[in-house]
């Protein structure tokens, strides 16, 4: 499997990463080298191995359904660029 510059551009757009056009080819090369490594790993026989969702051999601990968080809006919004009426303001988004 290999990717080209246009695919790099598409994925970068989905991930909201800005990659300079002059860097697209080099980035594709770098990522293709990683993909080659993945291809190599794919050759390992895993027929009798359970798929792994998490590297730790442990299961999730569950939490009781009890409110433990107080209203901390003022502090949490202190790092936001624009706030009004308790809302975070962001550049206009319309679907």
């Amino acid at each position: 499997m290999a990717v080209d510059a246009s695919e790099i551009q598409k994925v970068a757009n989905l991930a909201r990463l800005s990659i300079d056009e002059s860097q697209l080819e080099t980035t594709a090369d770098t990522i293709n080298r990683i993909l080659e490594l993945v291809d190599q790993m794919q050759m390992v026989k895993t027929d009798h191995v359970e798929p792994l969702a998490h590297p730790l051999d442990a299961t999730q601990r569950l939490r009781k359904d009890v409110v433990s968080e107080e209203n901390n809006r003022e502090q949490l919004q202190s790092c936001a660029p624009v706030v009004e009426d308790g809302l975070f303001l962001v550049p206009k988004v319309i679907e």
């Binding site: 598409k10 989905l14 991930a15 909201r16 969702a53 998490h54 730790l56 442990a58 299961t59 999730q60 601990r61 569950l62 939490r63 009781k64 359904d65 009890v66 409110v67 433990s68 968080e69 209203n71 901390n72 809006r73 949490l76 919004q77 624009v82 009004e84 009426d85 308790g86 809302l87 975070f88 303001l89 962001v90 550049p91 206009k92 988004v93 319309i94 679907e95």
Partner: protein
């Protein structure tokens, strides 16, 4: 789903009339679980709080935070699975669904893909003609809700409220088993009944507690392949859902008959204006790059948990309906309505048990109680007339203390808070049924004197017409007694006097 081009669809007798098209509907339903806290944080999920006062560091996706799964969200999802006879997956993996939108602070939604908690199940629906149908559930998975974007004018910006972010949801996905709007609405109502009976959702649709996405396609009758579908998102009332389906079916048929193609797209329906529009094409947005969430370990569901929850399962609406019919002698139609909503069913059963008369209790709950609740736009849990109070009123109808007409008056007084129970109002307002012969006789005499002309007409009329004409005098006499006279006695005594 395979796509069909218009040229494949066209036949010799093109265009087809409306009844030669078949509609295919599948639903995706987001159900907000009635937990006290978020699915991955200890922030409250209470509705209606000031913006962002219930959004903690985890909900905001601040660096360094870690999610911890709410046990109750897992339990509620399992209960749903048990309620629709579905397999429960023992190993649950949460995945990240990546997309960018300001009301999704982490840049991904934590959801399930490969291993949803609830596997295939089924729901029985009853249609208006009394027939039943099975709608298959493909699966239901656990996920978190997003926040809310407010597009009113904030100086050309959008306002973001993240109180809802992280609220636990189950997304229920049906097979495309419904064939018209009626079936889809019947299914939606049944699902509402199931989740409220289970107590896993408050069912408040106007607050967004249940939101329906409707997948609609059309195909010529008899064709096997499905047509191209559209998805109308976020319908939050049964009425809007029905209207949106009818509108979309008509649009697709018109479009194809005019030689066009239905495009697979997401659409929005505005219930207030009855208008629908395209939202966005799914092509690029669809690339969500799912992967297992490294912050969350697999959630293992032990048999002991399953068994404990199974033992806690309430009586489901179908079983309740059957019991109302067989044990309490209610009609199928009345039993269907009463069993459909947990609070209504409980109210009815309390009133029926205390008064010992299920039929009267059913009539009153479906009649005066429902009418008054609707007129005041409140739910049965907020009814000023409690089940106990209704039972007290029914008892006084049964033991002949009051007439049916006065009973409505007592009900209204109870509703307004004029007394704490029916007996108090009956005493205070002197509403006991009048069964005293002398009192009724003098009232009747007054009515006959005041309506001498009608009396003459009655006596001149042939006997077969008289039985209808007597209704006038009964009405007058009942009015004179303010509804308190025993109607049977009034009828009897009037007849004797007029026919004398």
């Amino acid at each position: 789903m395979s796509q069909t081009t218009p040229s494949q669809l066209k036949t010799d007798n093109w265009p087809l009339s409306t009844d030669q098209w078949e509609t295919v509907i599948g639903l995706e339903i987001h159900v907000q679980l009635a937990t006290k806290t978020k699915i991955f944080s200890g922030a409250s999920t209470a509705f209606g709080a000031e913006p962002n006062t219930q959004a903690c560091a985890v909900d905001l996706g601040l660096p360094g935070v870690l999610p911890v799964v709410n046990e109750e969200a897992i339990n509620m999802a399992i209960k749903f699975g048990l309620g629709i006879d579905a397999e429960i997956n023992k190993v649950n993996v949460f995945e990240r669904k990546n997309y960018f939108y300001p009301d999704l602070p982490k840049g991904y939604q934590t959801t399930q893909l490969e291993k949803p908690i609830v596997g295939a199940g089924h729901v029985e629906i009853t249609l208006k003609d009394g027939s039943t149908k099975t709608v298959r559930i493909h699966h239901a998975h656990l996920e978190e809700d997003a926040g809310k974007s407010l597009h009113e004018d904030y100086h050309g910006m959008s306002g973001i409220d993240l109180n809802r972010a992280g609220t636990p949801l189950i997304e229920i996905v049906t097979e495309p088993d419904m064939r018209n709007a009626e079936e889809a609405v019947a299914f939606a109502k049944k699902l509402h009944s199931i989740v409220t009976t289970l107590g896993i959702c408050d069912g408040e649709m106007s607050q967004g507690s249940m939101r329906f996405d409707v997948n609609v396609s059309v195909r010529p009758k008899g064709q096997k392949e499905l047509g191209t579908r559209t998805e109308t998102k976020n319908l939050n009332s049964f009425k809007f859902m029905e209207a949106a389906i009818l509108k979309e079916v008509e649009r697709q048929i018109d479009l194809i008959e005019d030689g066009g193609d239905v495009i697979q797209e997401t659409r929005l329906y505005n219930g207030d204006t009855d208008e629908a529009r395209s939202m966005r094409s799914k092509e690029e947005a669809n690339d969500y790059r799912y992967f297992p969430c490294p912050d969350l370990l697999p959630v293992l569901i032990e048999d002991s948990r399953l068994e404990k929850l199974r033992a806690e399962m309430p009586e489901m609406p179908d079983a309740k309906k059957a019991r109302f019919v067989s044990d309490l002698g209610l009609s199928e139609v009345d039993a269907e309505i009463l069993s459909g909503d947990q609070a209504t069913a409980a109210f009815f059963e309390t009133a029926a048990n205390i008064s010992g008369d299920a039929r009267l209790a059913s009539n009153w709950v479906l009649g005066e109680v429902s009418k008054s609740l609707n007129a005041n736009s409140i739910g049965i849990s907020e009814s000023p007339v409690t089940a106990d109070m209704l039972a007290g009123l029914i008892t006084r109808i049964k033991d002949n203390t009051i007439t049916g007409k006065v009973a409505k008056q007592v009900f209204e007084a109870l509703w307004k808070g004029d007394g704490k129970n029916a007996d108090e109002i009956i005493e205070k307002q002197d509403l006991r049924k009048v069964t005293d012969t002398d009192a009724i006789e003098s009232m009747i005499d007054e009515v006959l004197v005041a309506n001498a002309q009608q009396v003459e007409n009655y006596r001149a009329a042939p006997p077969e017409k008289r039985s209808k004409m007597i209704g006038f005098f009964v009405g007058q006499a009942m009015r004179a007694s303010k509804g308190k006279a025993d109607p049977g006695m009034v009828n009897q005594m009037l007849k004797e006097k007029l026919d004398a």
